[in-house]
Homo-oligomer: 115 residues x 2
DNA sequence: TAATGAATTAACTGATTAGCTAAAAGGTGT
DNA sequence: ACACCTTTTAGCTAATCAGTTAATTCATTA
């Protein structure tokens, strides 16, 4: 499973998105996270391992506890890459870029787009 | 199912993300989309209806064909809202905001965080 | 109206997923 | 070693999902 696949898969669960929101400001122990959900600790643990596998959070053992925290850069990076792939630039920006290209080289802009 | 739920659910499939990428530059007929995948037309049709239900694409009948196109604003809007919810602002921005709060009211910033 | 083509809906199947409980693993302290 | 606590793994079940083929809907054209 490719990395973006794992990321979008991880984000597809409301529970997991909530976990990310909880971790937004500070790391939390596994127990503290589980306490906020109406489900068993093993269920939450599985969600955490999916988030970790997607590279969205890190974990560190601290004595008998396990601390989890966000990997903010990775989440932002993946979403950003996706936006670039799927959302075209605004019309005015696109016009600017085309003008630059046509001034500088003989290639039409279509020839440079990823296929 | 809430709207962001539908959006992330829609994005969780590689096939559906590919469809969005195909629609990035121009609308396409259902058949033209299905032709790019190694699966039956009904399967693709189901993917399209999930994307439509999430508000990520629109559809319009054109004679016997059905044209599909992206709803770029919606996709960008949802991802942006999510980023805001989950990715904290930069440290310096956060310091600024805290300074404002502490100047204005007696509550520490923690008391204002979602529980 | 009948025939054809495009797309969707219906009905079904196999695989995956989310949850549970019970058991194990890892760490602390007596 | 033992008891205790936190967390994860194993094994299971019910529900959901992605795909299939067959049948239906909608539009066109003879």
């Amino acid at each position: 499973m490719s990395s973006p696949d794992k990321v979008f898969d991880a984000l597809a669960s409301t529970t997991r998105r909530k976990i990310l929101a909880y971790l937004r400001d500070r790391p939390l122990h596994a127990g503290a996270i589980a306490a906020r959900f109406d489900m068993s600790a093993p269920a939450v643990s599985k969600h955490l391992s999916i988030l970790e596998g997607a590279g969205l959070i890190w974990k560190r053992r601290e004595g008998q506890f396990v601390l989890y925290g966000m990997d903010q850069g990775n989440l932002a990076g993946h979403l950003w890459a996706f936006m670039q792939e799927v959302c075209p630039p605004s019309r005015t920006l696109r016009r600017e870029v085309r003008a630059e290209h046509e001034a500088g080289e003989g290639q039409p802009p279509e020839a440079r787009r990823a296929e």
